[in-house]
Symmetry: C2
Subunit: 187 residues, 2 copies
């Protein structure tokens, strides 16, 4: 019989490598069926993304960014976001990334949902916020390796495009999923 | 001015480590602003997931699996899926994973969408299929480290739960996103 609903026991757990954006652990774990195996897991900081909602003249748009991604070697359309710093509150991280990447400050920021970006081998969490009552406060403040184009996209177009070519970052469709649920919960 | 819409030039690219489920590359890349930096990227096989649709007595349900995940150290509710083998067709991989994990053969399998699981640092793609006309053919055939519980979940419940605790695997909400779009395109 399958026993997919039971946790495994971690018998050994040690870090075996460290890179700039993640470190690698190796574990020896024993399943409910009594067999054990070695599994690799990545430690990385939590990630926070924010869906920034602009309401102007009765039209609702989402503030999106466009940036080159080194893994895919492509340009992706995304919601603003980034890494949660050590000891930083996740909502504060989302608001900080919004301000840095777009120059907008969030008057209100709410958690729409959290999940595992990839529980098969990653240990970190992914948090999705919705920002409203946006006020343009600064210009962007990017570090030397961040080149980000900012543009408001009509909500309907953004949601219709999400997941298609050029809008094909899985975590952004996850953010859109939470945003749609958040929006439904308010209507 | 930001130049987020331009690709970077990869000046150097070499593998620096190899693990059972991925390998690590280090790149030296130069941006459109003329500055260069070193970036880490993961090579991993593509992943394929399948949303299996059961229609019985006018009720529609999705065949889901429950399994322990070594990264999160939690049990997750998911759609069947796994790694695309070298030279394997992605639809064939989805159909194979469905058969192995659930014992069901797909009479019809359609691509609902593809994206980057994490383009920031991963080089692989994620493919989502919808399987219909399901026929129970075998029992599960699991390897020694796979313990998977299978259960049909009413479509409405599955979609309402996706993203919440215990259903919180980002790539599965991405799969649900594509499934909802696929379903809308047929109505």
């Amino acid at each position: 019989m399958a026993q997919g609903s039971e946790r495994w026991e971690i018998l050994e757990d040690r870090q075996i490598a460290e890179y700039p954006i993640f470190s690698v652990r190796q574990r020896l774990s024993r399943g409910p069926h009594g067999k054990s195996g070695r599994f690799v897991a990545l430690d990385a900081p939590d990630w926070a993304v924010v869906v920034p909602v602009l309401e102007t003249g009765g039209l609702r748009s989402l503030l999106m960014v466009r940036q080159y991604r080194h893994g895919s070697d492509t340009v992706c359309r995304e919601f603003p976001g980034g890494v949660v710093e050590p000891a930083e509150d996740t909502a504060a991280a989302a608001a900080r990334e919004l301000l840095e990447e777009t120059g907008y400050r969030a008057g209100r920021i709410e958690l729409a949902g959290s999940c595992w970006p990839n529980p098969a081998f990653m240990r970190n969490r992914f948090h999705v916020f919705v920002a409203t009552a946006l006020v343009k406060e600064n210009e962007q403040s990017q570090d030397e390796h961040e080149l980000i184009d900012v543009e408001p996209v009509a909500e309907q177009l953004a949601l219709a495009s999400m997941g298609k070519a050029g809008w094909d970052h899985a975590l952004m469709t996850t953010a859109a999923w939470y945003y749609v649920r958040w929006r439904e919960s308010r209507s």
